[in-house]
């Protein structure tokens, strides 16, 4: 049986070294570039007509725009429009990385914890900076829940701080684990199809077809979850709602 983890291996396509740092162009880099190019193609080439009545591709670009714009408007509220380009980029980048990963023989960028963690860390650090920039030291009040007995406060503050600090972990692990588990599962069942042959392979094949549909849903859903949690964290930092 082929190794189901083989698909996640990083292969250096072009060895590069920038000031002692390994900046090799890998299969992961290739798919990140492809994802970025797809997004740019959709939003710039798709919008080239600037038509009053949109073409199909322009419609997709506009729907993506409005989808993320509504998400930011509903979840971040006032002052959220500044961060809309970031949330849009984040959503589209993750979405296209996930979707490109669904193609056979492709590489799923978001199945690597370092990638998802880096994005989650950027969100976490950025949100924390925004919180302190906006409220100064008063942002610490965010960790003090209102309307609880004073005796419970030390415990609750500790819990709040821990839950705040685990945000990047949960955010990154959720996306990474979903992607990795789904692709591993597909690979394992693919091996079953081959292993059981023409006689017994139909059952795992049918399962794979259904599971591929589910994975496409997950690919969209995880991009959405990542973006909407970013919006919610931004809202916390901007308005300190609890």
């Amino acid at each position: 049986m082929p190794d189901p983890m083989h698909q996640f291996e990083i292969k250096r396509l072009v060895e590069l070294d920038v000031f002692g740092l390994d900046a090799s162009f890998t299969n992961s880099s290739l798919f990140m570039v492809l994802a970025a190019m797809c997004v740019i193609f959709l939003t710039i080439f798709g919008m080239r007509g600037r038509a009053l009545v949109p073409t199909r591709m322009q419609s997709v670009a506009e729907i993506s725009y409005e989808f993320v714009a509504n998400m930011v408007r509903d979840n971040v509220g006032s002052g959220g429009q500044r961060y809309f380009p970031f949330v849009f980029t984040l959503f589209m980048f993750i979405l296209f990385c996930n979707m490109l990963g669904m193609l056979p023989y492709s590489f799923t960028v978001t199945s690597h914890i370092i990638i998802t963690f880096a994005m989650a860390a950027v969100v976490f650090i950025g949100v924390t900076i925004i919180g302190f920039a906006k409220h100064g030291i008063g942002f610490l009040k965010f960790f003090v829940p209102s309307g609880v007995p004073v005796a419970l406060l030390p415990l609750l503050v500790v819990i709040e701080v821990i839950s705040y600090l685990t945000r990047p972990v949960s955010l990154s692990v959720r996306l990474f684990a979903n992607m990795m588990a789904g692709h591993t599962m597909l690979k394992v069942f693919g091996a079953f199809v081959v292993g059981l042959g023409v006689i017994g392979g139909w059952a795992p094949l049918a399962f794979m077809v259904a599971f591929t549909g589910l994975e496409i849903l997950v690919a969209f859903l995880q991009a959405y979850v990542f973006a909407i949690l970013t919006c919610i964290y931004l809202n916390d930092a901007l308005h300190m709602h609890h």
Partner: protein, 161 residues
């Protein structure tokens, strides 16, 4: 597990930074403002089209109201003219009728007078004829001779009784 290969972290992070930052700049500077403009223009266009439609509807309503008013006026005037004509006609008819009646009355009067005259004349003639007849009859019957004055007196007496 290839995900935990520490040596692969650096190139991934490097290329994530490159692609993500590039994508962010392109989106923020070029793509998103362009999409926003297109959506905004469409919204404006729809709003202005709706405004225009509203204005056109308003002017249509005005035109309809003016037409209705003109129609009502015309109808009222037509009614008035008809009424006037009817009155004038009936007045004329009345006048003519009165004239005709007057003429008829005059003619009736004249006829009556003529009849009365004729009657008087006839009565006058009658007394003459009666006198003549009486004289003749008396003459034939009695063979006597009567003066005209006597006969007339007797006839007048008979007629008067």
């Amino acid at each position: 597990m290839p995900q935990l290969e520490l040596l692969d972290f650096a190139p991934q992070l490097m290329w994530l930074a490159i692609t993500f930052i590039t994508l962010y700049i392109v989106m923020a500077r070029v793509a998103l403002p362009r999409i926003a403009t297109v959506i905004e223009e469409r919204r404006d266009r729809i709003a202005s089209d709706l405004d225009e439609a509203e204005q056109l509807k308003q002017s249509t309503d005005e035109a309809i109201a003016a037409y209705e008013q003109a129609l009502a006026e015309a109808r009222a005037r037509a009614h008035a003219i008809a009424q006037e004509t009817r009155e004038a006609l009936s007045r004329e008819v009345e006048a003519e009728k009165a004239e005709v009646e007057k003429q008829i009355a005059k003619k009736a009067d004249e006829a009556e007078k003529a009849i009365a005259d004729a009657k008087t004349a006839a009565i006058a003639n009658l007394s003459d004829v009666a006198s003549g007849a009486a004289e003749t009859i008396v003459k034939e019957l009695v063979g006597g001779k009567l003066t005209k004055a006597e006969v007339n007196k007797a006839v007048s007496k008979a007629l008067a009784s």
